[in-house]
Amino acid sequence: MLTFEDMRYTQDGFSLHADFTVRDGEMLAVIGPSGGGKSTLLNVVAGFLEPTSGRVLWDGQDLAGTVPGKRPVSILFQDNNLFPHMSVAQNVGLGLRPDLRLSAQQKTQVEAALERVGLAGFGARKPAALSGGQASRVALARMLLRGNPLVLLDEPFAALGPALKVEMLDLVRDLMGETGATLMMVSHDPEDAKRIAQRTVLVADGEALAPVETTEIFANPPEALQAYLGK
């Protein structure tokens, strides 16, 4: 369970406040206007930014001082999710061992993960030889192997076409279902939220509002969301 306990992050006149709890195993969308702090929220959870005040707790444990790599978190960024000089299999293998000294059994695990995301036999390729959708699948395979209970998506599919994006969202939903992991997904597209998120957090005007049922928030959008949606 992820808890924002009166968490505030401030820098250079920018401020973000959050005070809510993410349920175990739920899929949560984070939407709002750009520059509102969606990515900041994820970066605080991932450990790239430290809260100015308040706490971020995982299962009651304060995450402060834990470096990003040691947090119970897998994150997919908007871009640069793969190392271009490593093969697909190596990129996925990093999810098991960051030093890539993989045992035979671990190599089998890498192949299985690739197969799960529909990329069986792609292990030897370099990222440059992949399409955008395939690159996303590789990153998802690595996420599977990391096996962290909390998954953060910072709009990794934003550059994909609509059909491909729907495909990736469905894959994410299935993977989350299989692993039981908790998901926080940043998006600027309300359709993404409607497709896979049970609840949605609106981030606007320096405040990450407490999560609301996705169907509810779009049926009765609060003022800030109305402004964002243009309705």
Partner: protein, 519 residues
């Protein structure tokens, strides 16, 4: 990311070690010289003459190089022709060209029995004299006109193409384009280019050694050498060293105030699309003249030297072997120091600027000052002559450090900026990060820096001249001795050998960095 806790890793600790080593190498020799200067020596008239000559030749060299480079760069920026890429590559070559080789080539063209004097003789004119101020300036222009051209060309190509398109749509003539687009660019580019070249010429030693001479054309650097080597007058050497360091520090201080453009990047293969120009014969003539100025001296060395390359005295080949060893050791030290410093600079962020400027201090520090100081430090401990080669390798490494830093700092910053968070999120730290992320991503700039350091060290004639005994010379020194003994054929043969080894070293390492480096 800005507020994440700063962690002292072994690599960071090594980086701080590198900073300390660098500071020690710059400060300790100066302190040693001052300490050994027991009697407070007074600068004589000859010393002041050396100061004046140093400033005069550096000003002239930088002024002429930059002045000529403006039209050359403009021609290169706006003309497209066969061989343009080759010419730009050629403009990069003098940087790794051993100074003494170029001097020999210039002698073959402009010397007493060179081409120019021969042609003048046909029409009954006396031969030209290359020794003295104009010889020193000529050699400096030979080296720095290409550098200045590349610096200014960079400025031209940095003007966005859209501006020229806008200018064309507004029916600007060449004069309007110059006023609105080109003068502002030159105003911001020229001071930096001038100062870089001024600094290079101020600390240049080999050119002054070979083409200067006589009390009227002695630089401070050369005076240090003479005080040290011929008179063993440590007091005077120390005073001159302090003087040289002060001049260098002032010039470097000025340089840090003006922005210095970079030529290390690529992207010079572009031309600016222009609509305001017509006939190109003037540009063509100019570029042809510059190409000849660069090619003919080198061509003369090849013609004179190639027949002798394989029949040189054994001492020359032995010197070549020593030079190769010095170059490789120097390359390892320089690249290693630069990588550690670059990592530290990027990690430290704000303090990084300070660390970076320490790395650049050596641009102003004179190799002879460091060399002479180290001699004094080592003298009571051991026989400095026995350490001539290691000391040379070390000093050469420090001298090529600024160029390595200039290449590696932006490269490390880019890798960390693009993949740093990904590596962090995957818990790739320390050595794993070095092996799996930094090393593969930095192979190109590392190869380039290594090649540069090796080639610069291979061709360097500086500290070694202070220390070495007759049996411990490097190839450039051996070549200089052949020239001094008027064995010009053998000197030309040695020059070809030296040139070949320098270029080959650069090519091998630069190439090695590029080999199957993925996007």
């Amino acid at each position: 990311m800005a507020d994440r806790a700063f962690k002292i890793t072994p690599l960071i600790r090594a980086g701080f070690g590198a900073v300390l080593l660098l500071l020690a190498l710059i400060i300790a020799p100066l302190a040693a010289l001052l300490w050994r200067a027991e009697t407070p020596a007074v600068l004589g008239a000859a010393d002041w003459a050396a100061v004046r000559f140093t400033l005069l030749q550096a000003t002239l060299s930088a002024g002429i190089s930059v002045g000529l480079a403006v039209p050359v760069a403009r021609a290169l920026a706006r003309r497209r022709f066969v061989g343009r890429g080759l010419l730009i590559t050629l403009l990069g070559a003098p940087f790794i060209l051993p100074v003494i080789v170029a001097v020999l080539g210039l002698l073959a063209v402009f010397g007493r029995s060179g081409i120019l004097s021969t042609v003048l003789g046909w029409v009954g004119l006396p031969p030209v004299h290359i020794y003295g101020l104009h010889g020193v300036v000529l050699a400096h222009v030979f080296f720095n006109l290409p550098l200045a051209t590349r610096l200014i060309l960079q400025g031209w190509l940095a003007i966005p193409a859209e501006r020229f398109r806008l200018a064309a749509s507004l029916d600007f003539g060449p004069r309007d384009v110059a006023r609105v687009l080109e003068y502002p660019m030159l105003r911001s580019t020229l001071p930096g280019a001038f100062m870089v070249i001024f600094l290079i010429c101020m600390t240049s030693f080999a050119v002054a050694l070979a083409l200067g001479g006589g009390p009227k054309s002695t630089t401070v650097e050369l005076a240090i050498y003479q005080a040290f080597r011929f008179d063993f007058d440590l007091g005077r050497a120390a005073l001159l060293a302090g003087l040289q360091f002060t001049l260098g520090a002032i010039a470097a201080g000025v340089m840090l105030r003006v922005s210095v453009p970079s030529t290390m990047g690529g992207g010079l293969d572009r031309t600016v699309e222009r609509w305001d120009i017509t006939a190109g014969w003037r540009d063509g003539l100019l570029l042809a003249a510059v190409a000849l100025f660069l090619i003919v001296p080198l061509g003369m060395i090849l013609i004179d030297g190639l027949p002798y390359v394989f029949s040189l005295p054994a001492s020359v080949y032995a010197a070549a072997g020593r030079s190769l060893g010095v170059a490789l050791v120097s390359m390892v030290i320089s690249t290693g120091l630069a990588l550690l410093l670059a990592l530290l600079v990027v990690r430290l962020r704000r303090g990084g600027v300070l660390v970076e400027s320490i790395g650049y201090i050596t641009l102003a520090a004179s190799p002879l000052v460091i060399g002479a100081g180290l001699f004094i430090v080592l003298f009571p401990l051991t026989d400095p002559v026995a350490l001539a080669l290691p000391v040379t390798a070390l000093v050469n490494a420090v001298m090529s450090l600024p160029f390595a830093l200039r290449t590696l700092v932006p490269a490390v910053r880019e890798v960390e900026g693009t993949y740093g968070r990904l590596a962090d999120s995957l818990a790739m730290g320390g050595w794993v990060r070095m092996r799996l992320v930094l090393w593969p991503r930095l192979r190109r700039p590392l190869g380039f820096s290594a090649g540069l350091a090796a080639a610069l060290s291979m061709g360097d004639l500086g500290v070694i001249a202070l220390f070495s005994d007759p049996n411990g010379a490097t190839l450039p020194l051996q070549m200089y001795r052949l020239m001094a003994a008027y064995r010009m054929d053998q000197a030309a043969g040695a020059a070809v050998l030296l040139l070949g080894m320098s270029l080959l070293l650069f090519w091998i390492f630069d190439r090695g960095g590029r080999a199957d480096a993925d996007v």
